[in-house]
């Protein structure tokens, strides 16, 4: 019996991942129209980012309100490559993207050139956010900036990043962003079969990310990360530098978010500052909060749900759907602080005791009052 329980605890989550994998990779392509499948692909990209946010925020306690930056780094890296591929398909190997001719003088900035290479682009999608996150995180964590400071700082970063993109029309397409991709690593993007292939790549990437965090959460590092979240300074006196612990999670999360952004570009056909700015970043967080930030599957499922909800609500109530979105934030955070993913266990727990729960249930031991004195 006990063994069975242990087995469930270890392998149960994998079962959940398998269910998601089957739903996304087998069921969805079979039942959805190409358009809906493509929509789902977009939510999957947000879900990949959500897994990263769950890692940084749910497990690591770092509420990054500027994940849009990493989403954008991946998205723009990919978009630059696709833009160049599209240009080369029509204008030969030295062709430059159309917008540089329209808004600029038709010359391409030097840092665009390497993105003609697909391999370089793939490396950049992983390395650029990793390096940016490492430098940024190193600076921030070593200086022990955390909590609300960290959240607001990163939000400002997202604003600055989006503003920078808008202000550099000739280099990044500005407010318009980058779009009109025709070719994806040699495959024609106007072909429905190829669009489905991009979807499959995204869904697979999501499953891979989930497996990675699954292993991470059950590893000793996962425990150390939670320990760092709960009592950062105390970790120091166990012989670990908490900054390093957080840095690892932060960088890993940034890479996942970047991968989400990179796949977002070919799936939606566009990446623009409004996909990476403060509002976009907050919507990324919304999904994670909805699903349950500290859970394994919560962030991914939550992000899928928010994506689906946005589409459905805005199709059904095109003029009023913002109300629903606003209410969603309020209701979930107010009544399900641990996310909807925790509801089942809450209900079960209630039934088990048949006791009225006290009005102010401590959220987690320790946040409950008279606890920490400096």
């Amino acid at each position: 019996m006990k063994q069975l329980q242990n087995w469930g605890r270890t392998w149960g989550p994998l079962l959940g991942i398998a269910v998601i994998a089957i739903a996304l990779l087998v069921v969805a392509p079979a039942v959805l129209s190409p358009f809906r499948l493509n929509n789902l692909g977009k939510y999957v990209c947000w879900a990949i980012a959500g897994v990263g946010i769950g890692l940084a925020w749910g497990r690591g306690g770092m509420l990054v309100m500027g994940q849009g930056v990493f989403f954008g780094l991946g998205g723009y890296a990919m978009a630059m490559h696709l833009k160049l591929e599209a240009a080369m398909a029509t204008g030969g190997p030295d062709a430059v993207p159309d917008f540089m001719v329209l808004y600029g003088d038709g010359t391409m900035p030097g840092w665009w050139a390497p993105f003609r290479s697909g391999a370089f682009t793939l490396a950049a999608i992983v390395m650029v956010p990793a390096v940016v996150a490492a430098v940024l995180g190193w600076a921030i964590f070593k200086r022990r900036v955390k909590g609300a400071y960290f959240a607001i700082l990163t939000q400002a970063l997202a604003v600055a990043f989006a503003t920078l993109l808008v202000a550099t029309i000739k280099q990044t397409g500005g407010f318009n962003g980058l779009n009109q991709f025709t070719v994806f690593f040699g495959y024609n993007l106007y072909d429905p079969t190829n669009k489905r292939m991009v979807y499959t790549i995204a869904a697979t990437a999501l499953v891979v990310c989930l497996v990675v965090v699954w292993q991470l959460y059950r590893s000793r590092f996962g425990e150390l990360l939670v320990a760092t979240r709960d009592a950062e300074e105390r970790v120091r006196f166990l012989g670990h530098d908490p900054a390093n612990v957080k840095l690892v999670a932060f960088v890993l999360a940034a890479v996942m978010v970047s991968v989400g952004g990179a796949l977002f570009a070919p799936i939606t056909g566009i990446i623009s500052p409004s996909d990476v700015d403060a509002t976009a970043s907050i919507l990324l967080i919304a999904g994670v909060a909805l699903g349950g930030r500290a859970l394994l599957l919560g962030p991914a499922v939550g992000a899928l749900a928010v994506g689906f909800g946005r589409t459905t609500l805005s199709e059904t109530f095109p003029d009023q759907w913002t109300y629903f979105l606003g209410l969603l934030f309020i209701v979930v955070v107010l009544f399900f602080p641990a996310g909807l993913g925790s509801v089942s266990s809450q209900v079960v727990g209630r039934l088990r005791t048949l006791l009225p729960t006290p009005r102010r249930t401590p959220i987690a031991a320790g946040t409950d009052a008279l606890e920490v004195a400096p």
């Binding site: 320990a227 105390r234 166990l238």
Partner: protein
């Protein structure tokens, strides 16, 4: 053995002009239970803070030829110096077992951090027994009572295999029996370790101290056996008060 002592020379801690520690010399030898007592605000906690890198200090603190004042806190821990906190601090969201396991991670290689724990490592199981929390191993540490947390902290030092343990009022809030258990535990593990205990409970000090150092206003006021200290009029005046003799017979 020769190197295994903590040497403090000319240690000073200055808070914007206020000298919380003022030129303190101390040598802490292995195998003896060393007690640090003194009035509130004498500088006992600050001394431990300075040794473990929590506050900047001047002077010299040496352990196994390593200058601790120039070492980062987590490196000090890796050098074998462990401490507990006056207000017990454990990882509230993690179970007792996980708390201990994490503490045991200091000496693991970095890449192994990516692997999951399998079963209960023997040293963790041992520590669980020693601190008497085996029954609570799967409870989140946040729900432990005050004293249980303090035991957990000691347990964390045990799995870390700290060679020097600096314990800041480890038995505060424990009942008489629990103090006794803790005292016996310290005596047992103290044979091959250097242990410093900060404490105000004179009954406890009397029962377990091998050496006592009295601090006052940032300086060492007196040092010696319990009896010698209790007889010292200066110590009586600033610390023990007149109840000292009465308490002797309580």
């Amino acid at each position: 053995m020769n190197d295994d002592y903590l040497e403090i020379r000319g240690l000073s801690v200055d808070f914007d002009g206020f000298k919380a520690i003022d030129d303190v010399d101390l040598t802490l030898l292995q195998g003896r239970l060393h007690f640090l007592i003194g009035p509130n605000g004498a500088g006992k906690t600050t001394l431990v803070d300075a040794v473990t890198g929590l506050v900047p200090a001047t002077g010299l603190v040496r352990y196994r030829n390593q200058d601790l004042l120039r070492t980062k806190p987590h490196r000090i821990v890796r050098a074998g110096i462990g401490r507990t906190f006056q207000t017990a601090t454990v990882f509230e969201g993690l179970s007792v077992l996980q708390n201990l396991d994490i503490a045991g991670g200091v000496h693991r290689r970095a890449w192994r951090m990516g692997l999951a724990r399998r079963g209960t490592p023997s040293y963790v199981a041992e520590a669980l027994e020693t601190i008497g929390l085996a029954g609570l191993r799967d409870r989140p540490a946040g729900v432990l009572a005050h004293g249980q947390k303090q035991w957990l902290e000691i347990g964390m030092l045990l799995v870390q295999d700290a060679r020097v343990m600096l314990l800041d009022e480890p038995v505060a809030g424990m009942s008489a029996e629990e103090r006794e258990q803790t005292g016996d535990l310290l005596r047992r593990i103290g044979r091959e370790r250097t242990i410093v205990v900060i404490e105000h409970d004179m009954d406890f000090v009397r029962s377990y101290a091998d050496v006592v150092t009295v601090m006052h206003a940032g300086k060492v006021l007196a040092e010696g056996t319990v009896a010698a200290i209790q007889a010292d009029p200066r110590v009586q005046q600033v610390y023990l008060g007149r109840t000292a003799e009465e308490a002797d017979h309580a």
